[in-house]
Every structure is written in structure tokens, then in C-alpha cells.
Symmetry: C2
Subunit: 319 residues, 2 copies
């Protein structure tokens, strides 16, 4: 039976650049409708994904890309839940989230603390001396915070070491993990973690074979969560589930996967990264996810939610 | 105007020994009623406190002991809140709590994980090799947990070092802090934390001058929280507020102090230790604090709560 395939392109506008590898502020992705189910397709070409056009072509055709296959999988699960009227994100514990600091700003950090966040994720690698100063001051001001530093592989191994050793030992104890400090290699990562005394987190492709990492970042937008979680268990790694800075529907899909893993593997999933909507200018969808908070708020509706908003979108037929 | 002073002795029965320094299972303390306010007085003689009898004498007399003065202070705040009908523990964010593992037991640890605890506090120093084995296995099974090891000063400095270095580096990164590894001394603590790469937490007397610690444990039962918190701020330390393994009314007094500090010093207070009632056999008071959970549950009522239960106690006049 042929599928009924539709798409709607959306644009997210970041309040500030969101990535060490890109100064872009506007990001385009698509919501897709596959029969009665909805999914989000949000490629990040600067991080190695194919373009949105290529993804949509692939969706209509062979479905070779894991990003596309994951969207299809998510839309099918959404369709099943909508059919039986089940709101996926209600009556299930979605793990809490860290606060993503879009840039070094005292006011935003204070706001995060007042909203109850105790883990802060910050991108590093753009202005290293300023970042070090900021981290030291922020940790002195708010001693209860733990830090997640995401370098998006912008460091060389020696640079990562000098950046981390440039932070006082007592700050390094507050580092939850350093994500992708440099391209993954067993030997460089093992040396880096021991010399600096900080856990490392691996994101993207290398994940299933990354035994030198202590934390595995699972992005349901492109990863199969169950398989990665099983690999993490076998390597004694903690799992962090993050959304992919995509549309709120995609955030809900990530939150659902995080909640499932949390049930399936008790004690495996740490504080996640599911609250990224505040990085972008608000839209009717993001307003349903509520105010910035460590707790994920269900958008209401059936399946992944947003029933009424999704019905009203000007869907285009994908052929 | 003379105060109206009453007391009622209670007995708590531990499910297992609760302290590395004591094999005792039954613990006696007193609730006190000062005019219209209630407080808890729970000395731990094995940790250096005067006996309950001496405390009650002191309460009726000079009020020299800080334990006694804190009880009086708490009862006065309770009286004020009851007078205006204010339930102190409602509509205020009480910090979350760690799970106190009374002894090494897989079933209890699994239960803690399933209830959402992500920090585990365990007493160490009784059977060191068994404790090390247990910690390593538990961390492999539940990689998202962070650990708080409380030694109650049972180690010599060299023993503490060998105990900690006997744990793999990757486990040590999961140590939130080691509490009172050995008697506090600036030089031994500084050496210990650097050699082992773990934060140290200081409890009891030494707190205001303990700059070699990274975490300050504030026990409102005997400490003045505001003064210690100010000292912690000046030393860049995180503050953890803990109850004193006392009567549920005392737990509520500690929870109230934790909530106040959290408002007064944003970002200072970490996950606390306020959920100790499950260590003891249940009583009508502890049942009001609900099931074991990281979230503190208000017992209901005005002031520190328990209005109806407190009214029905067979108070004795203290003279």
C-alpha cells in the first residue's frame, strides 16, 4: 500500500549563533506527514548531514540516510499513538534537561539557576580565554552547578588538553563531561581524559564503538536509541538523550525516546538535553512546550502532540 | 514573660545501624513545645553531642549548647507561622535529596533508582574492600548515579587516600564528595583532595574555617544556616543541607532551612539530604512525609506541620 507523503518546511530563527561551526542564524527543516503520523526532519549540513532537499528526495525514494529513516520511524510511532488516542508524553517520566547557554551571559545564567537548572551546557572553542574566565567566575558565583562543555570537535587534541588544564582542578571536578573535544580516536581520548581528569562524551557517528568515552550522547533524530543504549550498557557509559535543535515536534520525539530508554534501562540515562526551544524565537509550537525549565512539558494532544496546529499547516504533497 | 515549656521523648528504631561509629539501633530524642511552637531535639552522643537529659536541662536553663539554641530558634519560627496559619513547607521549593543507603543492598539501590534518585549517599569505613567492590559494581550497573561517601572521620588520612585510590579513576569522577574522610586539617585535606582528585565535604564544628573543603554540609539541627552559607559563599563552596537522622518534625525544620537558603543564595545549595525517615520503622509522623523520593513532601498543617498529631502527644512539663 502506497504511503500518503506530505511535508511542510519550517524556519527556526536563533536568538544567537547556536554552534561553534556555524554563524548561521536561520535554520530550515521540514515536518513530514506519513499517512496519519508526523515527524521532524532537520538536517545540519555544517555537521555533515545531507541538505534538506536531498533528505526529502531520499524520503520519497530509497530512504538511505539514517536521519530520514529515523523520521519515518518516529512518524509511524506517532501514527499508531494517534490512532488509539494515546498522548505519548503524558503519564511517563521524561528525564530532566540541562540548560543550554547560547552564549556567555550572566543574565541568562542567573535565569537558568532561578528556574532550577543544575546542569549547564555551554559551547566552547570560539574564544578560549574568555570562555575559561567565564566558567571560573560562574562556578564561583553558583557553586551548585555542574558543567557540560561541548566543543563540536573544534579543538586539536593538544588544544583540548591545554584548554582543560587551563581550568583549575576544582572547576574540572564540576565538569559533567566534555562533548566531542576533538575528533574521536581511542588513543587521543584516553590520554586526554586521564591527563585532564574529566569524563568525555561522544556524539554522532563514533558512538557504538567509543569505549574511551564515559558518556554517550544519543540523538534520536539520527540515532537508533535502543541499539546505542545497549552498546552504552556494555561499555559502562552513561547515556544523555538530546534533541537536535530542531522543531518542537522533533523535541517531543526526542523526549519520548528519552522517556522510553529511562524505563527500559533504569539508572542509565542522566540529565538530558531536551529543552532547546528557548534558543529560537517563539512560535505557536514552541509556546506549547512552556517556559524554560529542567522539566519537559507535554504539548498536549495525542501521539507526539500539537494535533490542532499540525492539522492547520499548509502541507505539500511529496512525490 | 516566662515560657511555657513541654517535652515528649520519642524513640526511633533504625532498620539497620545508621552510623559507622555506632551499632546502636534505637535512638531517643525529644520534641519540645515552647509556648505555641514545636521543635526537635535529637543529640547524637557518639558524634560528640551532650546526652538528651543534659540537653533538656540546658533547655530549661542556660541554653549553652548550640543544639538546644537551634531547637529554640526553630520552635519560635514554628510558633510565628502557626499563629498566622502559614504552612511553611508549602509553595516554596525544597531542594531535592540524595538517597541514603543504610547498607550495601542491591534491592534498596534498585528501588532508589526507580524512585528517581540520582545521588546516593553511603557510609564507608566499616569493611573497606567490600565497600569498594560494591561501589564499582553499582556504578557499572547504574552509570547515571553520583556518589556521596560519608566516612564520619573513621579513616586516618593515609587510609582515606588508599581507600579512594583503590577506586578506579572513572569511579572517582562520579564522587560528588567524600564527607569527613578524616579529622579536618587544612594540610591533610588539601593533600588528600589533590592526590585523589575528589571533592571533600566538611561537616560539624570545623565548617566555618574549612577552606580546604569544596562542599559544606549544613545541619540546621546544630548549625546556624545563614552564617555558614555566608562563609561557604566566601570560600566558593557548595552547600548541602541535611537533616540529622532525627524525628520527622526535625526533618521538616531542616527542609525549611534548606528552602530558605535556596531562595536567599541562588545557585549555592546542591542536592540535599532531607529524606531520612525511611531509615527508621514507620510512625504516624513519618507516614505524613510520604514515600521515599528525591522530592520532599510537606506533611500538611501549619508551621512545620503535623498539627493534629502534635496536639495529641502526651506532653510533659519541663521545669
Amino acid at each position: 500500500m502506497a504511503e500518503d507523503l506530505w511535508y511542510w518546511k519550517y524556519k527556526l530563527t536563533a536568538r544567537q549563533p547556536v554552534n561553534a561551526k556555524s554563524q548561521r542564524r536561520e535554520f530550515v527543516g521540514a515536518l513530514v506527514r506519513i499517512d496519519e503520523g508526523f515527524g521532524c526532519l532537520h538536517p545540519w549540513p555544517e555537521l555533515g548531514d545531507p541538505s534538506l532537499e536531498k533528505c526529502l528526495e531520499d524520503l520519497a525514494g530509497p530512504r538511505r540516510w539514517s536521519l530520514v529513516r529515523r523520521t519515518v520511524r518516529s512518524a509511524k510511532e506517532d501514527a499508531d499513538a494517534r490512532f488509539i488516542g494515546d498522548p505519548l508524553l503524558e503519564e511517563i517520566d521524561v528525564p530532566k534537561s540541562h540548560a543550554t547557554l547560547p552564549w556567555q551571559d550572566d543574565r541568562i545564567l542567573e535565569s537558568a539557576v532561578s528556574k532550577g537548572f543544575d546542569r549547564i551546557k555551554m559551547k566552547v572553542g570560539r574564544d578560549r580565554a574568555a570562555e575559561q574566565r567565564y566558567l571560573i567566575e560562574a562556578a564561583a558565583k553558583f557553586p551548585n552547578l555542574r558543567w557540560r562543555l561541548d566543543a563540536n570537535e573544534t579543538f586539536e587534541p593538544a588544544e583540548a588538553e591545554s584548554f582543560l588544564l587551563g581550568l583549575p582542578e576544582e572547576f574540572r571536578w564540576k565538569i559533567d563531561f566534555v562533548e566531542d573535544p576533538c575528533p574521536y580516536a581511542e588513543s587521543t581520548w584516553s590520554a586526554l581524559k586521564s591527563r585532564c581528569g574529566v569524563p568525555l562524551a561522544v556524539d554522532r557517528e563514533a558512538a557504538p564503538v567509543s569505549s574511551a568515552a564515559q558518556v554517550m550522547v544519543v540523538k534520536p533524530a539520527s540515532d537508533e536509541p535502543w541499539l546505542l543504549a545497549e552498546a552504552a550498557v556494555s561499555m559502562g557509559q552513561q547515556v544523555i538523550v538530546t534533541s537536535s535543535m530542531e522543531h518542537p515536534l522533533g523535541q517531543c520525539a526526542a523526549a519520548w525516546e528519552a522517556a522510553k530508554l529511562n524505563v527500559q534501562f533504569p539508572g542509565l540515562v542522566g540529565v538530558c538535553g531536551l529543552q532547546t526551544h528557548h534558543l529560537f524565537t517563539p512560535c505557536p509550537f514552541s509556546e506549547r512546550l512552556g517556559r524554560w525549565s529542567p522539566e519537559f512539558q507535554s504539548p498536549g494532544g495525542t501521539g507526539l502532540g500539537f494535533d490542532d496546529l499540525l492539522e492547520r499547516l499548509p502541507w505539500k504533497k511529496l512525490s
